[in-house]
Point group: C5
Chain length 360, copies 5
């Protein structure tokens, strides 16, 4: 459940907009990295004092300030104050249980996004909140912990690959979202593989554990749905915004990731439909095996119970001496043979019956 609802009871009653970190303390140290570029220049460095980056707000170059670690609320507050961000948004940044959203303030835009990655060790999808503040010439990104999916993007900026160095902060935002969405496809691939291997297991050797696996997959899909669905509105909001921070030429790129998001949601729905059908396979296979067990029991029992009865008859101790009516068979010459003939007839009859019923 932890994935669906975070422990936020400690924030109850606090003043709205109060900065209270919600989440596990994922990183020890807060790391601040700066990438500053225009068509000709490129600088990348780590800084210790957040104040060092405040000058970048007013330069003409595009600046990407990235904060890894958001538990240091004092630091976050400093940034908020300097860049003049609404305190409610600052509170959202440090509350990692937020829903993806897009807010259009007058001089800046605020986005909450989700970065997903697959934790191979725990065989689980992990989720990290990424918040973006987008100004005229800068983007500030907040992550819960070090390590992200943006390394290739950073490299592309550094190498001046493609058009990114010629474009503004809006294109940088687009590139960041694009990197996140691209990564969703990787998660989907992984989930798709898990579904496939689960289905193979189901067909080859269904075990009670399969139900647990199906339920886990279902929950993964519910989680993905809940996380990715609101992204549609976020990107739609970004596309439809009248803010001057988004140039017209960026619209076609935003529509592109919008289409990708729809495609992801479509795939999640297909997964959902597929997985919900697999339990039926499992249950019907359990049913079938039960049926088979029952058949074996029934065949053995219905053949041998009458035989045992026949044997029981001739095991009775009626006094044959008193009257010829008392079990004369016992004294017949072919009595034993006769008993066997009866028993074999029963077997043949039963087997024929079962054959006709197609139980063999």
């Amino acid at each position: 459940m932890a994935r669906f609802i975070k422990k936020i009871s400690n924030t109850i009653g606090l003043e709205p907009g109060a900065l209270v970190y919600v989440g596990e303390k994922k990183t020890e140290h807060v790391r601040i990295s700066i990438i500053d570029y225009d068509q000709d220049k490129f600088t990348q460095k780590y800084i210790d004092n957040i104040e060092d980056c405040f000058l970048l707000r007013d330069t003409k170059t595009v600046s990407w300030i990235n904060i890894d670690g958001i538990h240091d609320t004092a630091l976050i507050e400093k940034i908020g104050n300097h860049f003049n961000i609404h305190h409610l948004f600052m509170a959202d940044i440090v509350n990692t249980s937020q829903r993806p959203k897009f807010e259009d303030a007058e001089n800046y835009m605020f986005l909450i996004l989700k970065m997903l990655y697959f934790d191979e060790k725990e065989n689980d999808i992990k989720c990290e909140q990424v918040s973006l503040i987008v100004g005229q010439n800068f983007v500030i990104s907040f992550q819960e912990t070090e390590g992200d999916v943006f390394d290739i993007l950073r490299n592309r900026i550094k190498m001046a690959k493609g058009k990114i160095r010629k474009m503004g902060a809006d294109y940088l935002v687009y590139s960041i979202i694009d990197a996140l969405v691209d990564n969703y496809f990787v998660i989907l691939e992984k989930v798709g593989e898990n579904i496939e291997s689960m289905e193979d297991d189901l067909i080859n050797e269904p075990t009670p554990k399969s139900v647990q696996t199906i339920q886990d997959l279902k929950r993964d899909i519910i989680f993905l749905r809940k996380t990715i669905w609101p992204l549609r509105e976020v990107i739609n909001g970004l596309e439809k915004t009248e803010s001057k921070l988004i140039k017209k030429t960026t619209a076609v790129y935003l529509r592109d990731i919008y289409n990708h998001t729809i495609q992801i949601i479509d795939t999640i729905e297909s997964f959902r439909d597929t997985v919900s059908g697999t339990l039926d396979i499992y249950l019907s296979s359990v049913s079938n095996r039960m049926n088979e067990v029952m058949k074996v029991l029934t065949i053995i029992a219905t053949i041998f119970i009458p035989l045992t009865f026949v044997a029981g008859i001739y095991g009775m101790n009626f006094n044959t001496a008193i009257s010829p009516l008392n079990m004369p068979e016992l004294n017949w010459r072919y009595g034993y043979v006769f008993a066997w003939i009866i028993m074999i007839s029963i077997v043949v009859g039963m087997v024929t019956y079962f054959k006709r019923k197609k139980w063999f």
Copy 2:
């Protein structure tokens, strides 16, 4: 069912707008408390005569009049008359089966909200109706009983923490709704924990009672959904209203709680999907155990029934003296050994068969 529909048959046929209390009489005495503040002043007191607070309507300070206990319809009527509230709204206040709603009258706004709390004793979610009348400089709140989730808010006003003392009645309304919505998260956490512990039980030791627990959780979730879903429209109405009672600067706060509400609804939907899958786990585990019981029976029966038959054969009393055809085995030197060999062969054959079927 009591949670889903309240006994209102006694109000049938009454004139619309007639004040009839619907609900259990949750509190004996009606308690009226007043908080009156502006940036510099703060007063908090309890009064006995409702008339004592009527002066506050026209002062410039923000006044929060809180009524605990709504069964005293005469009192409610007095307030309605003095503050000039539509009699239909007054009837809604005392009818605790109302749906959350927002009504925009010309000079005031009327809101019905729901306060949820978890009753640890009965392990149940309880619901209390909170109605708000919002005027230019005052907020009147009606609760069914003493005790609420607003103590921290009152304290914040008293301590002048945050900006609340600098803001007007609209910010107070926002703060009240925010306190309610924050509390929903606590309920969700509790429900989330219950789902988790139920799932653990299901996996470790499923019992028939589990189905009841699942059904109870489902009903809790249906109840939460029914209670919280309309809140979206309420807050949306509040945000979109053209009433002068809501200042523009409050809009961003309202959107914030709107987002929280969506997040809560999302979480409820996730819970719903999760819980609806757990019954499958239970049913398939019951199926599996049945299967196992059947296998034990089948193995024992199919091994011993043929053996018993063999023993039965040699318990027959055919007269061996009459003819050598009658059960010659009984007089063989190794007859008994021979019988055991037959029987052991049957056991080995059967066990091999079951091994190949993977029943062990």
Copy 3:
């Protein structure tokens, strides 16, 4: 099914707008009652000739003409002609299989509503069609049979309780609808109680009949849904209409019943979700009992079948005289004791096995 579709095959092919009564002839005699009032005057009487009420059309007092019994199509036609009602609407009045609807003609409004009541004898929800024609100063209501939910309303008019005597025909229409909707709550309470008692039965003593009860409740809920759902549009149409027949001050009352209708629909949905889960409780309880039956069988059979085998062994008649290899146990001093020891060991072994499996 009769509730879901009425026998109307006899109307097939008739001219559209032809007056053909569809429904059981619920009342023998057609009763026409008139209530005529303004702030000062009040008259209530029964008339025999419908023509006697035609004068009321043009008086300034508010007139409520109520017709109990709609099978007399000639009478209905007279009214239609006099009040100049479209013949299609007249046909709708006598066809009791209509869906609730609101039609806004130029000089009058036409409404079809449904009156529900609970038939205690047949333990079933009955439905009666109520049609309203609303003009400037008059309301004509058509009911299938005598007896309705409007007595308290009539009394309120007579006693001049509340504001009804001061208001016009639109407020009368509102009051009529309000009486109908109030009555829906009574039906819901009844259904709620039935659900509750069914659930108690399910938990205490589930029987095959429970499934039938669940299915009956489901059908009741489907029926309520089908009947009440269109009412939303009716009231919405009434609220949004631009007809001069509805005064602006009535809007707030209409919104009030609109809210009640939504609340009723919400409750029906909650009932639906609740009931749909109860079948799972039943099925899993059946499953559990089957499981228990199987366990008893398995325990008894797997304990005694091996024992019987042992007894069978020593019941064999091998000739002990021929060879000491033939059943020497029979001649042992402690042979019988030895047999009992074997058998008791089997019992202990089995019981231990079942204990470990937690079958006891």
Copy 4:
């Protein structure tokens, strides 16, 4: 499946608008009938050459040209050319797999509708496509085969019943659709009866065939839904059209059939919900009977297996002569009585146990 998708592979790749008949050749001969009327005149005749009716296009009387049989594509093409119909619409007429639709060309309107009738022989709902071309003073209708639901309508025109002779082609169109929709109610009644009789069978004597019946009914309902649902849009389109071919006074009639269509769809949904619940009744009744079978087996087996064991004990052949420890009971005076007492005790114990478990 034939009902859900028709074999149209032979039309693949053809030029759009090519006239290719899709459907079974339901009628041998193409029959053309003409009804021509105004307030004073009425002519009805069958013609052999389609050209004979071309003059009617420009007369002032209302003409209804009805074509039974649409496999003669040359004939259809002639009509299309003369009345100047878009070739795509002509192609739709002969392709009987079309969805109901409404197209508003400038000088005429084109409608595709579905006529349903119940085939008592095959106990199945059959569907015939009816296409209408509506011009200023004429309506051309195309049917797959002779025999339809319009005879009463034709008679009404002939007898000048109602207002039809006074109205134009738009009222004729309305009357045709009304006849079709009226007929849907007959189908619904039939389906309703089938559901009812299936439910009675289920309760009285559920057989494996019931599942097939339920599935057939489900498919009927899916088919009705698919066929009737698009009619809403058709009638809505007709009502909302700005074409001069529809007079304003006809709007109220169209809304009337619109309401009927909604009512039919509502009823179909109710049927759907009802039928989907019946499988649960069946499955739970199968479960119950299985349970009962198991109980009988268990009671008999658990009573007699221990008894048989006791009998087996005293059937053992231990040599009582060797030692008094060997089966002394055999030589007791009351040994046999003792054995019976044991056995009767077992029976009483078991029966008590089952009684307490409420298995009897």
Copy 5:
């Protein structure tokens, strides 16, 4: 799963708009074919250098440039550069995992469509991406591999059948989409046949494999839904576009394929509903057979177990010599007959009981 999500992890992190082929390399060689026509002229040829077709952009004839094989990204890029296509669209062309879409650039339109065909060998629906670039006088189509559904269309152009030679590029686009959509009907027919044959199998001889077949069909339907559903928006976009590239007269054709698409989606939904019910048939048939197996076991066991007990009784060895109380029956004259009478009575009783229970 491969059908639902393609392996695109290798494109992660690349610059948006980078041309990276996603898909299996379905064709070895890239084949470029050109059809160039107007009302009088017709040329069809294969070219080796893409540059050869660049001149066609500015001729007045309609040119259809078709590329079979899209893995040669250099080639694709050349085309993109020459025709001045946005690099994002070029990237979409080579990424075969795209969702159907329609983009309206200023001077051209871009469409992604899906071509489906049934692979008889693998009994599977295959999907190929077809991208279209539509300019003033040219259409460029990109396919993954040689072989398509357009041969009849090409022939129609060559033979100047119908009006295609008289129309422009927009009609060619329509004809291409029409060919694709027509082909969907073929797929639906195939799926319909598969559903039918699966249902026949289910009724005649249900096997555990049936569940797998049902699940496969479900997945096919999910796949069709996912693939065809977005086509609605594509065609709608095309119809609603204000681009000058689509002439007004083409709108009626587009609406025609729009209707076909709706019809296809309707049919898919019907299939879905039908298939989802078939599992119930299977499960209930498994249930029924289990029930029958149980009945056979129960009948045999409950008849013979008591009989065996009776035989066991008279197989006991109580010493009849010691006391006349010890098994006197053994020495009765009619003892054996008496035993048989008891046993036959048991059989008759049991059989009567089962007959009354209707187990035979």
